[in-house]
Structure formats: structure tokens, C-alpha cells
Symmetry: C2
Subunit: 407 residues, 2 copies
């Protein structure tokens, strides 16, 4: 497997576009299209929030009931969440418009929205936006990038990636894009992620691979502990790579999963580092835990701790907060056995062992914690399971962004 | 029942003191003593964090195994948490010193610490502080206030309260003090709370009343979602009111519970409003829920939501974040049935009903949200259970306080 330039248009047969629809923002694209020239197998994972946005309900229905899909239309600025029957009617209208222009069935059009909750979509501008998208769609890498920029809200960078690997002598590509910066605590996350691949794979295995992958990727990030109403991750597989269709688990399936995990890990990690107001990525690796689930719970508890996040912002080696966060995670362990380290490009330092601090140098710790990517390592000495979680520091800018998000 | 002036010295036979020990702070008291002239029944609830501070382990042992206790010695500045065997040895030394000076058994001395995790107590200063406390202790209201000020860390106001009620023709008093501003997400919380009463009540019922009370008081507040290593709530009952000892559930027990709940609710609510950096108290009342536990879970989810907290700071009626927080709480409900209101001294406004916003006035909502105490009301229309949770807004000052807490 190797990483290549590109995103959702890297795989064969996929086109994309971004367009300025003026839904909330001005002077930037705020609608995106992902389109496949041929019908795709589609898999999806969605927010577990009881309050689900209209496009989430729309997509869930298609993923569960349609054998194929062929396009995703996404807008930024308004989430189309808590919009009642009107919101669902607008989904149907939006899909109908895209279906007509793209000459595909309505049930092949998936929808995504992100932005303010509770406002209705301005359907005239949405429809005009879809016309622009249909006219502009292209299979160039630039078109993929344009789409990845159009779905940003408070994101400061666009997120896209692509990898290739070989199967049956054919080159298979998996690409993806995502957005998400606040209300990020996916279970699923306000993240939207779109994965495109030209692999030939059955719908069942595509869904299984996606569902398994998000557990250790998108579901292991947190910016603010708020699980959105709109979280959606969709994977489109159009089969144009020409490999023998993957219909059972085995070496080919594992290769596909590896590529999908790589793409999802990159997108998830980049979202965490680009958390609202963040100045640093906070990575936590818990290893030698007794079970995989406990490793995940422990790692996520650290990246969710407001106090740990504020300390990282201050480059302060306040390890007591990390141990405290492990302690209230709900996982049982012996604090005296745990060893804690900080690591970054600037070095690695052991800070806590045998129940007390190690007498480390505060200056060295501060130097390590002043990097843009910081890792906390926790050796639980209970078993052999590992998990990694990603978050970011908590800054005044996070507060400022969210004190008046709607204005 | 009526509220009176005072705190831990309001009940008969209780004395208190505050003293400058120079543990971390200068120019202010940082050690406190609560003392009863006669032995007390004692009950306690402690942090559920796996990582428990040394004084928590010390107190748990006494509460579970000693029939009586008579004093609590508390320091601010250092938490004596993650301090290994040395930390436990220091507890014993501290209790021994206090026992000698107060002429009571070592096992009658409870200990509390709050502050930085991971540092050892400076025992020379602690012992000198205990000497000052023993010399200064008094039953005046001023002495109670001095103790409540000495246990503050990042708190901006001291927290104390007292109430009286009649039992068997005798006046019974329940008083209390607490501290807590950050690392507040009690389960139990870095809160410390000390309740004193002259009621005569059996140890078993005192513990049962306390354990039941914290579920809807201290355990319903959150400043930052971080459950501390030191959370402790102790209740001392010395029997000097002269009522017939409460040894079974009935009218007398209910009167006592009502007074205890009133005191704990006041202390919990005041802690939430004085959360680190807070400019407003955020109260959430969930009513007509199907079960009491679901009502609690829903209410707490709202006060824990970083996005809701930031919106309150911005006086922004971003109700979508509230519905979102209810939605990811883990409780199942129909979002279309929920009605949401904002309320404060400035008025009450209905903002969401039948699945969409009500068309309320943003100006009026902003006016209501600009008060120092703001209430969110959620009518779930599923049953008849109610719960209230308290938190605060999320501000830049919270980040500033915690980015360099140790320096």
C-alpha cells in the first residue's frame, strides 16, 4: 500500500465538484458533489445521537435499502437538523433535483448537511447550487480538493487522502475526504466523511469493513465531547479497479481493510488536530491494557479531559490530570502499576512510575509539550491490548468560536 | 425548616478555625479545622475515581470502621494524591499531631486535601498549621466562615450555609461548608464538603441520608467533566440538639433528610455557579421524564456539553446544542415530543416544540440569557420524573486558569 496525491477523485470513475451556493458563507464554496460514473456499493455509519438530522435519516434509509448509490450532495452552513417534516421534504426535493441533473434514480442520491441546527435549508439556493455542481463535476484531483474545501465549516484546513494497493494484479485506490472541527465526539461524529474506492467488493463486506474501521478511527477522536446530530461516514465502491469482487474474508479483504483504515486514521487524526481553536494535536496511546475495549475507553478518557486539554495548551506537564482521567474512565486498574510518558518530535520523557512522579525535568517536559503534535503514552501493565485516541488542546479560541457561532 | 446565618459552627458543640500555613498560597489561610466537643457519628461519600488521594483512603477507613469521629483537618494547595506510600505515612503523621493537640484518638481525625496532584505535603508546615488551628478553634460563626475560606483553591467565594428545624420540641441545626471550582464532576467531586449537625441520629441512617442526598445534589453538578481524585463529603452528627436519636425511617428522619438536602443543594449549586472562570450558573431542569435516572442523565448531559456552555457564555440561544446534548446522553426519547424553554430572572421563553423552533424572539432570548443564573427547562412528555443539574458557562478564563494551574 502506498499513499498518493488526491482525495475522493483518486479512484477510477469518481468525479467531484465544489460550488458557491451562498447558503451561509460568502466568497467560498459551500456545496460539494461526489459522483461515480457507474453505480456503487455503498456503506454508511451514522450518529448514535437520538436526535438525527434529516439527511442522516435519508442516508440511513438508502444505505439499508438500496442496492446501489451513485452520488452524494453536501452543503455546509445549515445542518438541516431539528427541522421536522419540512426538513425531510427538503431532502426529497434536493435528491430529486440532483437525480434529474445527474440522470440517476432519486434513491441513488445521498445527502449531507453540516452547520447550524434548527434552520431550514434555503431551497432556491440549494437547487441553484446543485445545478452548478452538476455542470462543474470532473474527475481531476483539483475537483476532489474543491469538494473537500466546500464541506468545511470551522475547519481551518481541508482533509483529503488517497492510497493504492494491488489486488489480482490490478491497482485498487481508496480515497476520502472529511470535515469536522467542533461538536466532535463521534459515535459516529459534526463530522462528515466520504470514502471512494474503485475496489469491487460486496455491499455486506463494504459495510462490515467500514463499521469495524470507524471503531478505532473516527470513534476514537474527540474535540469537545459533543456527539453531533449529523455525523455521517459513507463509503462508495464502484468496482472499476477490475479486481475479482471481494465477497468473503481473506487476504484480499484484509488488504482492503488495511487501506480503508489508513485513510480513516489519517482523516480522523487530522480532524482532531484541526479541532476548533486548537494549537496542538493530543494523541494518547494506551498499551498493555487487559482488553481492547478498556484500552479504547482509557485512551479516549484522556483526550476528552478538559483539564488535560487546557494543560496541553499551557505546555504544562500536569500528569496528575492524565492519571485522574484514566481513573474516572470507568476502567478498573492499579494506579501504582501505571507508567506515563510524554512524547513528541522533541523527545520522550517518563513522568510517572510506581505511584509517584519520576523526578523528570520540567524544562524538558515543557520543551516536549511545546510541539504541535504531542503524545501521552500510558503503559497499564495489565495485558497486551493497545488503543490510540486523538484530541486537541482546549484554548480561548474554542470558547470564542462557540460563544457566538450563530452570529 | 428555616435558613439561618452560619456554616459548620452553627450546630451546637461544633468549633472551627482557619490558619495560614503557607503550603502553597501566601497572605491567606490554607488550613481548616472542624471539631466537635463530643464524639460524633460520621458518614462519608468519596470519589469513585480509581485513583484515590491518600486522605480519601484514610477517611474511608475511618468512616467504615470507627464508631465515632471528632475532627477534620483540611489543607488547600496540595492534593496529596498520587503520592504513594509516603502520602499515606503523612496522613498518619498529620492525624497523630491533631489527635495529640485535640486530646482525641487518632482514628477520630479525618483528613482532607485539595490542590495540585503529585506533590508531597510539606509536613513541617502542616504540623505548624495544626498547632495554629488547635489554638484558634472557636464556636463562633466567624470561625466557621474562616474555615470555609481556608479550604478554597480557585474558588472565588466561600460556601457555607445552615438551617434549623424542630424535632421533639428541640431545635436541630444542620450546617455545612464546601469548596470546589475546577475538576468538578462529582461522582463523588475536587470538591470537599463538610456537614455538621447536632441531630442525634444513628451512624447507619446518617450514612443512608448522606448517600441518598448526594445523588441529587453534589453528583448533579459539573464544571468540566473531570471527576477528581479527592472528592469527599463528610457529615458529622454529635447529638447535642437533644432530640430522641433517629434510629429508624419515619417523620423525624424525613425532616432531617429535608434539611440535609437543602444544605447540600445550596452548596452544590453555589459550587457550580462559582465554577472556574464562570460568568453564569447554568441550571437544567428535566421534567416529565420516564424514570428518575433518565431525568438525571438528561439534565447532566446538558450541563456537561462544552458547546452549550460556550453558547451560554455568549448569551446565544443555540438550543440545537441542548437538544443535541439530550440526544447523545444515552437516554432514548422522541425529539419531536420535547419542549424546551429558557428561563431567568428576566423572564421565560419557549424555544422549541413539535420538532422545530417556535419562532421566538432572539432579542428576548438574549436578554433572558444575559442574567447570572440561567435555567434550561426540558419537558420530555414521557412520564412524571424530574431532575435538576447545575453547571456553568465555559469561558476563556477557564482555559487561562487551567493552562498554567501549577505555576
Amino acid at each position: 500500500m502506498k499513499q498518493i496525491t488526491g482525495g475522493v477523485t483518486a479512484a477510477k470513475g469518481f468525479e467531484a465538484a465544489g460550488a458557491e451556493a451562498g447558503i451561509k458563507y460568502t466568497g467560498r464554496a459551500d456545496m460539494a458533489l461526489v459522483y461515480s460514473r457507474v453505480p456503487c456499493r455503498v456503506a454508511g455509519t451514522f450518529t448514535t445521537n437520538v436526535v438525527k438530522a434529516a439527511p442522516v435519516l435519508w442516508d440511513k434509509d438508502i444505505v439499508e435499502n438500496s442496492p446501489y448509490a451513485q452520488a452524494a450532495v453536501v452543503n455546509a452552513g445549515i445542518a438541516n437538523a431539528c427541522t421536522g417534516k419540512q426538513g425531510m421534504d427538503y431532502c426529497r426535493e434536493e435528491a430529486k433535483k440532483a437525480a434529474e441533473l445527474l440522470k440517476i434514480p432519486e434513491t441513488a442520491v445521498l445527502l449531507g448537511s453540516t452547520g447550524v441546527i434548527g434552520k431550514q435549508l434555503p431551497m432556491d439556493r440549494i437547487c441553484a447550487g446543485i445545478e452548478k455542481l452538476a455542470a462543474a463535476k470532473s474527475d481531476t484531483l483539483e475537483a476532489g480538493t474543491a469538494a473537500s474545501k466546500a464541506i468545511m465549516t470551522t475547519d481551518t484546513i481541508n482533509k483529503e487522502i488517497a492510497v493504492t494497493f494491488e489486488l489480482d494484479g490490478k491497482i485498487v485506490t481508496v480515497g476520502g475526504m472529511s470535515k469536522g472541527s467542533g461538536m466532535i465526539h463521534p459515535n459516529m461524529c459534526t463530522m462528515l466523511a466520504y470514502i471512494t474506492t474503485d475496489a469491487a467488493i460486496s455491499k455486506e463486506l463494504l459495510q462490515e469493513a467500514l463499521s469495524a474501521s470507524i471503531v478505532d478511527t473516527f470513534n476514537m477522536i474527540s474535540v469537545d465531547g459533543d456527539t453531533s446530530t449529523n455525523d455521517t461516514c459513507l463509503a462508495f465502491a464502484n468496482g472499476l479497479a477490475g479486481n475479482a469482487e471481494i465477497t468473503e474474508k481473506g487476504a484480499a479483504y484484509e488488504k482492503f481493510r488495511e487501506a480503508l483504515n489508513f485513510v480513516n486514521t489519517y482523516l480522523a487524526r487530522t480532524m482532531a488536530g484541526d479541532g476548533e481553536g486548537a494549537t496542538a494535536l493530543l494523541e494518547t496511546v494506551v498499551y498493555n491494557a487487559d482488553t481492547k475495549q478498556n484500552a479504547r475507553t482509557l485512551a479516549k478518557s484522556v483526550v476528552c479531559s478538559s483539564l488535560t486539554k487546557a494543560a496541553i495548551y499551557g505546555h504544562d506537564a500536569n500528569w496528575g490530570r492524565i492519571l485522574c482521567a484514566l481513573g474516572y474512565s470507568g476502567v478498573d486498574f492499579d494506579p501504582e502499576k501505571v507508567t506515563l510518558y510524554f512524547e513528541s518530535r522533541a523527545g520522550k520523557i517518563k513522568i510517572y512510575e510506581n505511584g509517584t512522579e519520576t523526578g523528570y525535568s520540567e524544562d524538558e517536559a515543557t520543551r516536549i509539550l511545546s510541539e504541535p503534535e504531542v503524545t501521552v503514552l500510558a503503559d497499564m501493565k495489565m495485558g497486551s491490548e493497545t488503543a490510540t485516541a486523538w484530541g486537541c488542546d482546549l484554548t480561548c479560541d474554542y470558547v470564542k468560536i462557540n460563544a457566538d457561532y450563530r452570529s
